[in-house]
Each structure stands twice: as structure tokens, then as C-alpha cells.
Amino acid sequence: MKSPSKAAAIVAVGLMSAGLLSACTADTASDDGKVKISVASLIPGTEQAAFDAFDARVAEFEEANPDIDVEPVEYEWKATTFTAQLAGGTLPDVFRIPLTDGRTLIANGQLADITSQVEALPYFDQFNPSVLETAQDDAGSVFGIPREAYAIGLHYNRQLFEEAGLDPDAPPTTWDEVRSAAKAIAEKTGQAGYMQMTQSNTGGWQTTAATVSRGGRMQEGQGADVTVTLDNEGTREALEFLKELRWTDNSMGSNFLYDWGTINQAFAAGQIGMYTSGSDIFTSLTRENNLDPAIYGLTAIPISDSPDAAILGGGTLNVVSAKATDEQKDAAVKWIDFYDVAKLVDEEAAVADAKILAEQDQAVGTPALPILDQETFDASREWIADYVNVPQDQVSYFAEGNEGRTIVGEPAAKTQELYAALDSVVQAVLTDENADIDALLARADADVQALVDAG
């Protein structure tokens, strides 16, 4: 401490930390006696119109519930940042998690028990039981409310299809057709014909989707008796497919490090012809990446002849922070009901929601799977038919192609670690011409099995 400026800096730091500490103190009730809850709003970077639409919904909710004060907080679920937020206690009171994380977070005591609040909802009995299960503990207590469910689909750029001399109204239905379309796009347009996510655990996620579509599974057994089966025939085929596209056809472009956000960006920018991802990403593509809806196409992921071939599903839960008070839990479930579920069960709410979204030029009618029963889902789609702005003729191939297909969930044990191990396998296949797929899979399999055994 030799200079006065240093001393001043230290005093300033001290004052700042004191300020920060005082700002950290819990604040559950507003000065005016209202119950205050913070809720996850939209992904950071979303366009202003979407935030305006969100704020409009908040205002509507607060008008209907004058005793509740809702504070929106920008939120994006990412494996890496979520852990830090969870440990640091900086998550909003109401936030979203993938279906796969529900059970472990419940077991760790990190979610609030909202059984009584959820059971009081009039549509409680209508929840798709296999989806609701992911939000329940063994005793049947409820810790979350399903928000959305999706299946993996094949997204494609109609404009690149046309430029490559392909018919955008006859999207590929087999992996061989995907391969030849990718080759045509790469040759005619110079862009990547087909690409897959490879980073931040999404490489493993999409490899799992590709595996399931070829009849393979990443795990067998349940509970303490899980056998990891990464080196199955389906995964091998999926990786061989990528290898052919990358090294024989050279139809995957020249950048191979993509995660969920960056591949969306590249697709919206017209740099990728086809890729697989959740069926509901149209909303995000238009909101965050300024996608021109006219170039967007969605079709079902091709599946092989194997009797086990299926499509990978997934989804998100709305959950409440374990630290929430009873009043906050009541308010939180009211908010979730209002913002995310009512529009699926109540015509008036559905129309009001769709109207606001459509007015702000936000996506209405994105392909999704039912979280309640199919009948309710179909009805909810009919109510908002007038407001649907997602070009239905461009995404209809998805629903048509998936008719009668089985949807399977993501691997349950050590999901993120399994995905992480597959990330580097996919990256190796795409960046090393001599990558030994069998050896890579055998090693990843042993590593993940060791993690599963360690518990």
C-alpha cells in the first residue's frame, strides 16, 4: 500500500463489496406487501419485440393477481452456467430445466415440493403420465410442471435445396437421401450440406438422436442396474454416416465446432443445409437469429428398418427454487399456469397468448409434442388456428413423417457426462480422417460405465 490511489482503490473495493453484500440480502416481499417472485423470461439476446410480448403478459398477470409482483429475469439453460447459478443461488424463483435433470435435482433437494399447488390445478389429471413422471419423486410428490415436449426433427434450408436443384417440398426420408442431398448442396452452393452439433454436450445429444433413429440405445437397464451401451451398432452407423459425409463426400463444410446456439446461428445465416435438433427451435431461430421463415423447412428424422428404430424426445419442466416460501410457491404455480399451461387447456387463454405473440411477430404454431393428452393438444391447436404464423405447409412433413412412430426419452443415468464423452468422439470423427470409431466408442463406453458405477 504505497500510493494514495491504491489506498483509495482498496477503500472503494471495500465499499463496493459492502454494497454488494447488502444487495444480496433476501427480498421475498415487496414494500407494498405483495408477494414477489422472479421468473425466467427469455434467452439473453432475444429481440426486443419478444421481450415486449413477455412484459405484456406479465402486466396482464399482475392485473389479474394484484397481490403478486413478477420480476422477469433473462434466462438460458446451459449445462455449464446452470450449475454455477444453482450453486451460487442466483437462479430465479421460477426456472426451466430439461426433463432429464428433474429426478436428480429432486433427490438433491434442489427443487421446491409443489404437490399441493399442482394437484389443485383443474387439468392435473390430464398430464401425459410419462412426462409428469420426470417431475415426481418415488413417493409421487410433484416438483415441477411440464412446460413443453419435442421430438428431434430434421431442419433444412429450402433456399439451399432450390439452389442445389433439389425439391424443397420433397425433403429426404432416408439417411441415404440425406447424404445425397447434402452432397448436392455442398457441390452447388459451397455451403455445408449437412452438419451436426459437436460441442457443450450437444454432440452427444444429437449422436444419441441419430443412434435411436437407427435402432440403437445408449443405456440398458434402470436405477442402479444400468449398463452403458455406447458401442452399439446404431451409434457406429451414425458415426460412419458422418465419416462418409465428411471425408468421402466433403459435404459438411469446414467448421466442425458447433453447439446449440452457434449451429442455429449458422443455419439462419444460410451456411448449413440440414441439421437435426428439437422440433420447436423455429421460435428461437426467428427470435434470436433473425431467420427468414420463407427458407425454413422441417421434416421427420429418417429412421432405419430396425424394429427398435425410434425418435428421440425431450422437453422442459418449469420448476420452483427450493428456497421459495409457501406464498412464493403459490404465486409461482399461478404464474406457470398462466404463462405456460393455461394456453394449452383454456380457449380464452390460448387465444390471448397467441394474439399477443402474433401481434409482436413472434412464432405461433411451432411443431411440438403434447404434454397433456393428445385430444387437449389438438383442441388447443384449433383454437389458435387464426393466429398461426409458422408456415405450416413447410413443417407439415414433420408430423406426417412421425405418424405411428415411437418416441423414446433421453438416457437417464449420467446423461450429461455421457453426452460429454460422445462430444469428443464426434469431434474426432469430423476432424481426423483416420479416427478409429470402434476404439473411440469402446473407450468412451468404458469411461461412462465407470462414472455410472461410481454413482
Binding site: A84, D101, G109, N255, Q427
Partner: protein, 309 residues
């Protein structure tokens, strides 16, 4: 303040004389520093050592598990590769990053006109926020034949390079950016040290018929030796803790070819969304800190006689 700390001649020690000689005010002046240093530096270090012996997700209560975390970390098949990658990064960084600033600084000290401009240009990359710099370079490194760097290479007939998209070229690409980003700071240090070299030495060397190379070899380098030793150890410690570049450029890819020790620590803590393995993360951090402390001690002991010459 250093005058306050200096004790008077040690005659008789009593609390009264201690206070009278200014002991109390010394302590009072030191207190904020001690508290801040203790709370923000030492407490986290001690807590990290404790946490490395625990199993915790920072939400449910922590349980002591002895040396389990250390065993887990040391038996992780990825540790070997992470250490090799880090050493590779450090070696490449030494190869590019250590001599380049020195050469630039010596050249700049020879320039008589517009020195300020050159200094500003050399220091500019340090002013650019690191994240911005990395994102910018990520664009430059676009592996497409139309990517900025590949376009420049095509002008001189060199085929497009994969840059970050191949296990072989990813690490050198990271080092190139890191050198660009970090050289400015080191150049300024060398320039300052060069001004301290007595000009008479150069004059004497010139009279003895020394050319520019001999002047550098026999005057500049020996005079800079203490500074060179310090920047060398700082560089080693800095590169052993490299995180920003691999995290932002490649996230450790392709196929773990840029996974460094610090990135591995980060992954232990944050890769799993269900509450990370903070015990293993801190255990590896402690191991790294112990290694670097040991390395520094050894280094200074070995070079003590050399630097005081």
C-alpha cells in the same frame, strides 16, 4: 507508510512503549489491508483446501471424504492429456511469446522517431477486452476457404488451413492469438528495462567495434537478465493456467486436443448440470497450485546466482 512500519531500536518492549512508538496506528493502518487480503485471498485458499477433501454440491451439506477427490483426479484418463496439452501450450507460447516481445522491444528502442505511436500500437491488443479479441480471431480463423486468414494465404498461393478445426493446428492457433494479445504488456516491461541500461555501455561497446548484434548480445541481454528471468517465470505460471483461449475458441476440442488443466478443472465443476464435482475441481486446483509453487521455488533457487551476477 513504510516509515511507520519500521520499528525503533529494540530497547524495552512493553505495550505502552509499543503504542507510543506508533504500533497501534501501524496496526490500524494495516488493518484494512489485512482484512481484505485475509477475506478475499487467504480465506478462499484455505476453503479450497478444505473443499478438496469434501464431497459437496454446495447445496446439500458437505461430507469429508479424505483423499478420495485426489485419487479420482489422479486416476482420470483425461488428466494425462490435459497436462500434455498444457505443457504443449506452454512450450509453444515460450517459443513464440517469449522472444517476440524482446525482439520488438529492442527494435523499438532503436527507433528514434514516432516511438510513442509504435508503443501505442504494440500495446493496443492488451487494451482490447480478451473475449472480444477471441471472438474476433474466431472469425479470422474461419476454416472456410473464404475465411479472412485463408483468403490472405490464398494470395500467396498457400492452400486453406483448418486452424481451429483440426487437432493438429488448433493449439498453435490458440498460441498465436495468445501471443498477439499478451505481447504488448511484456514489450512495455522490456522497454522500461531498456531505458535503465546505461548508454555509456553502448558507447564503450561501439568504441570497441561492436555491431548491433554484438551490442545486443553483450550489453542488452546481460543488462536485462533479471527482468528476463521474472518474465520467464511469469509466463510459465500464466501459461500453466491458460483457460480463456481454449474455453472460448474450442471448448477443449477438437477431440480434447486443447483441453488444458484449467479447462479440466472447470469441467469437473460445471460440466454436469446437476451439481458439479467441486471436490475434484478444487483438488486438481490445489495440485496445480502446489506444483507451480514448487516450480517457482526451484526456479529461483537455480537462477539465484545467475540473476545476481
Amino acid at each position: 507508510m513504510s516509515t511507520l512500519q519500521r520499528p525503533a531500536a529494540p530497547t524495552r518492549r512493553s505495550p505502552v512503549s509499543w503504542v507510543r512508538r506508533g504500533g497501534l496506528s501501524t496496526l490500524l493502518f494495516m488493518l484494512p489491508l489485512l482484512v481484505i487480503f485475509g477475506v478475499f485471498s487467504w480465506k478462499p485458499i484455505v476453503e479450497a483446501v478444505v473443499m478438496s477433501l469434501q464431497k459437496t454440491n454446495l447445496v446439500s451439506p458437505a461430507a469429508f471424504v479424505g483423499l478420495d477427490n485426489y485419487v479420482r483426479v489422479l486416476s482420470d484418463p483425461q488428466l494425462g492429456q490435459a497436462v500434455l496439452n498444457t505443457v504443449y501450450f506452454a512450450l509453444l507460447a515460450l517459443l513464440f511469446g517469449y522472444p517476440v516481445p524482446l525482439v520488438v522491444a529492442v527494435l523499438m528502442s532503436e527507433v528514434k522517431r514516432m516511438r510513442g505511436l509504435y508503443s501505442a500500437l504494440a500495446y493496443l491488443p492488451v487494451v482490447v477486452p480478451p473475449v472480444v479479441a477471441v471472438l474476433l480471431w474466431k472469425v479470422f480463423y474461419n476454416a472456410d476457404p473464404n475465411g479472412p486468414f485463408n483468403t490472405v494465404l490464398s494470395w500467396v498461393g498457400i492452400p486453406p488451413q483448418p486452424w481451429l478445426q483440426s487437432a493438429a493446428s488448433a493449439m498453435p492457433s490458440l498460441v498465436l492469438e495468445a501471443t498477439w494479445a499478451g505481447a504488448g504488456g511484456t514489450i512495455i516491461i522490456y522497454l522500461a528495462a531498456l531505458t535503465a541500461v546505461n548508454p555509456d555501455l553502448y558507447d564503450a561497446a561501439e568504441i570497441d567495434g561492436a555491431g548491433i548484434w554484438k551490442k545486443v548480445r553483450h550489453v542488452t541481454l546481460p543488462q536485462l537478465r533479471p527482468v528476463l528471468l521474472i518474465t520467464f517465470i511469469l509466463q510459465i505460471i500464466g501459461t500453466a493456467q491458460v483457460f480463456l483461449e481454449p474455453f472460448l475458441f474450442t471448448n477443449g476440442g477438437p477431440a480434447n486436443s486443447t483441453t488444458t488443466v484449467l479447462l479440466l478443472i472447470y469441467r469437473y465443476a460445471f460440466q454436469n448440470s446437476l451439481g458439479g464435482n467441486y471436490g475434484a475441481a478444487t483438488a486438481l486446483s490445489v495440485l496445480l497450485a502446489v506444483f507451480l509453487a514448487g516450480f517457482s521455488l526451484l526456479y529461483f533457487r537455480l537462477t539465484r546466482s545467475w540473476s545476481s551476477e
